[in-house]
């Protein structure tokens, strides 16, 4: 009797990227379908480089990337068809309106126009942008721009959404809307892979958290598993037995070791 292999939305093996020094150094990572995965790490750890390689924006020097079983290096177009990428700097055009932007993105992903239009209307309403649908983006705030970019990422219903610091610079209201959209997406079966410096977001939203330092995955698991790996099980930051350590304590403990070793 054969045991069915777990279906991974993303599977990375031995990923390497060197610039002047190794940015990503033999990274192995697997994210299951429908999982909300947060990638944490100090500045310069290789998080953004990893995500950019997954999104097909830069080519790795070595290793493999499979997105929903598709070899992203051998067939990047097919892999991109099921993915969406959002960076901390919203990728939109100032001179287009949100509707025009979504129409353009739908065209790039070959979404049927009537379907794209319905989704665009729903997304803009959901993100509180319906009233601004026909205004050019040039006068939008950072939060509105990020929401337009998010709508663009969702208009083609991607199976895997990759986000690099999507909450940077957003006010509380916009951040809550973005988080709510992402959570809904994960509940609907989408896979979310996100880097963030806001540890509370990772703590509350992620099913699993990966900690990356010096281009390598140094710890991975649920918050409880990370606490155990950091030696914080059952104790908080003060050492009392009242509860688990916060993710911040756990994260700092985890990244401190490789940093000291380096």
């Amino acid at each position: 009797m054969s045991i069915p292999l777990p279906q991974f939305a993303l599977e990375i093996r031995g990923l390497v990227k060197r610039f002047e020094r190794p940015a990503v150094d033999g990274l192995d990572l697997a994210v299951r379908e429908g999982e909300f995965y947060a990638l944490l790490g100090p500045n310069g750890a290789g998080k953004t480089t990893t995500l950019r390689m997954i999104a097909g924006l830069i080519r790795p020097d070595a290793g493999s990337i499979h997105v929903t079983g598709i070899d992203a290096l051998a067939d990047p177009v097919a892999a991109k068809q099921v993915m969406a990428w959002i960076s901390d700097e919203p990728m939109i055009y100032d001179k287009l309106t949100p509707r025009e932007y979504l129409e353009f993105v739908a065209g790039l992903w070959r979404v049927e126009p009537a379907l794209a239009e319905t989704r665009a209307r729903e997304l803009l309403a959901w993100l509180g942008l319906a009233a601004h649908a026909d205004e050019r983006c040039e006068s939008f705030s950072k939060g509105m721009r990020q929401k337009v970019a998010l709508a663009g990422a969702l208009v083609h219903e991607p199976r895997v959404i990759i986000l690099d610091e999507p909450l940077t610079g957003l006010d509380a209201g916009s951040a809550r809307q973005v988080k709510s959209v992402l959570r809904e997406r994960a509940l609907a079966g989408g896979t979310i892979i996100m880097t963030t410096h806001i540890l509370e977001v990772a703590e509350r939203m992620a099913d699993r958290i990966g900690v990356i330092a010096h281009g390598k995955l140094i710890a991975e698991g649920t918050l409880e598993e990370l606490r155990r790996q950091a030696g914080h099980s059952g104790n908080d930051a003060t050492g009392s037995a009242s509860g688990g350590a916060s993710l911040e304590d756990t994260f700092l403990a985890l990244v401190a070791e490789p940093a000291e070793a380096a």
Binding site: L96, T97, L108, W109, E112, A120
Partner: protein, 511 residues
């Protein structure tokens, strides 16, 4: 030690920024290029002086008659209008560019000091811009005609001051007349039109009166000389100042700087108010609303092309730049219309290279905007389409615009002279394709707003694009007369384009 917050302190701050900005523009931000830039400037200065030495001989000691006064005055007027155009563009930027304005306006320093310094900086920059071309000629006139020609430097300073004063007045007048929301676009278009209108007007007059595109034929005509005032007239003061008339020079300089001082005194106190109004206009979307249309069935290629066309169409600054290029097509269009009526073949020979050259230059600019000036590079790169398809769509967008603009002209030409139309059409296609290919080989990642500085990314690309357009224009001009002779300039054009390909980063090993 300069006291902080004073006008002098601001002037020092602005000069430091301007110097670093210029240096970054010349060296593309690379320190190791400084030596090469210095050598390049030295070579340019020597070559320009050599050229000037051979050109100015006949003028250095010529008598100051009415014909010479007309020639100098018109040259000064042309240069001054270009200065006004440049100053107006700078003034628009001073009002609308946010950069450090928020910091300055939020500080407890009187904003009028800042604006006074900024107006002075604009004056300095427009005067300095004239120097690389004017200085070698003035120097050689001094060498061959005596010290009196040094007065020309004073005239340049006066022209800079008067041009800035007029630019300030025009911009503020537009601000008041049509409001901050529309001023940005209109001011940019007015600036472009001012820069081109006089040259084009003279050419159109020359065509209509004398059937030639030479401006000189109008300026040296009996009609103009008869209309010109007496040599003692105050209208000739700028020309007299150039050749060293002390009274005229002092009068001109004093009058210009009084105008500039008045502009600063009147407008500076309200600078903060204007800047805030400009900022408020940016965030008011009322006039930007567009009617919603249903999503159209489209392919990625079509979506990319449509996006490029929309962005080009909605870029006010680019519209003004394109408008200027289009304005330069007015004289050949008039020539075409006039020659069509007279059915003369000779005039078409003039028309062919002008159209080919314009097509090459326009295609180069548009190609940079579509290929390198991508504001959402990650979005396009993350889309499920190949890089080849993206580039193809962008090139189609450029060539589509070129076809839209030039096809009607070629079609009219075809009725009058099918051979000239064929040569022009072929030349336009090749010149536009070469300029686009050069931009493709030297493509870089930039924001569309950096269009003004596209030359910074590669001087090789800039020169190759210009020389390729010139060579193809020459090829078409010769081909219109003798097809076989056109082989020589065509070879030159191919060498220029091939050389650009060879020197391009896409060709270098390891890239």
């Amino acid at each position: 030690m300069i006291q902080s917050g004073t006008a002098v302190w601001f002037a020092q701050h602005e000069s430091r920024l301007a110097w670093r900005d210029w240096l970054a523009m010349m060296t593309a931000g690379r320190r190791e290029r400084r030596r090469r830039v210095a050598i390049g400037i030295a070579v340019f200065v020597v070559v320009m002086h050599a050229v000037a030495y051979s050109v100015v001989g006949g003028f250095a000691a010529a008598p100051l008659d009415r014909q010479m006064l007309v020639g100098i005055t018109v040259t000064l007027l042309l240069s001054w209008l270009l200065m006004v155009s440049q100053a107006m563009e700078s003034m628009t930027r001073a009002f609308y560019s946010r950069s450090d304005l928020d910091l300055i306006l939020a500080s407890p320093v009187a904003s009028q000091k800042v604006f006074a310094v900024r107006i002075s900086t604009v004056t300095l920059s427009v005067a300095m811009m004239a120097l690389p071309l004017a200085a070698p000629f003035i120097d050689m006139l001094v060498v061959r005609g005596g010290w009196r020609w040094l007065g020309a430097y004073g005239v340049i300073a006066a022209m800079g001051a008067a041009a800035t004063a007029l630019a300030v007045a025009l911009t503020v007048a537009l601000f008041r007349a049509i409001g901050p929301k529309r001023t940005r676009l209109v001011a940019q278009i007015v600036a472009a039109v001012i820069g081109a209108a006089f040259v084009i007007g003279l050419q159109v007059a020359a065509i209509l009166s004398y059937g030639t595109m030479s401006r000189g034929s109008v300026l040296q005509s009996d009609a103009v000389l008869a209309l010109a005032p007496d040599t003692a007239s105050v209208l000739w003061w700028p020309a007299r100042a150039v050749v060293g008339d002390g009274i005229a020079l002092v009068g001109l300089v004093v009058a210009s700087f009084i105008l500039l001082g008045a502009a600063i005194a009147i407008v500076s106190p309200r600078f903060g108010e204007y800047a805030i109004a400009a900022a408020s206009a940016d965030s008011s979307p009322a006039s930007q609303r567009r009617r919603s249309a249903a999503f159209r069935a489209t392919s990625p290629r079509r979506a990319l092309r449509r996006k490029e066309w929309l962005l080009l169409w909605r870029d006010p600054w680019l519209v003004s730049q394109t408008l200027m290029q289009m304005l330069y097509l007015v004289p050949p269009a008039v020539l075409l219309w006039r020659s069509f009526a007279a059915a003369g073949g000779g005039a078409f020979n003039l028309l062919v290279p002008v159209l080919v050259m314009a097509a090459g230059q326009l295609a180069g600019g548009l190609a940079w905007l579509t290929i390198s000036g991508e504001d959402a590079p990650d979005l396009v790169a993350a889309a499920p389409v190949t890089g080849r398809l993206i580039l193809r769509a962008k090139i189609e967008a450029v060539l589509g615009i070129i076809a839209l603009i030039f096809a009607p002209l070629v079609a009219v030409l075809a009725i009058a002279s099918p051979w000239h139309a064929l040569v022009t059409g072929g030349g336009i296609v090749i010149a536009a394709a070469s300029a686009t290919a050069i931009q493709l080989w030297f493509r870089t990642q930039a924001k569309r707003s950096q269009f003004r500085r596209r030359q910074v990314s590669s001087r090789v690309a800039t020169f190759a694009e210009a020389f390729s357009s010139i060579s193809w224009a020459a090829t078409a001009a010769v081909a219109a007369i003798d097809l076989w002779l056109a082989v020589v300039p065509a070879l030159m054009a191919l060498i220029v384009t091939g050389g650009a390909r060879y020197l391009s980063p896409r060709k270098r090993p390891g890239e």
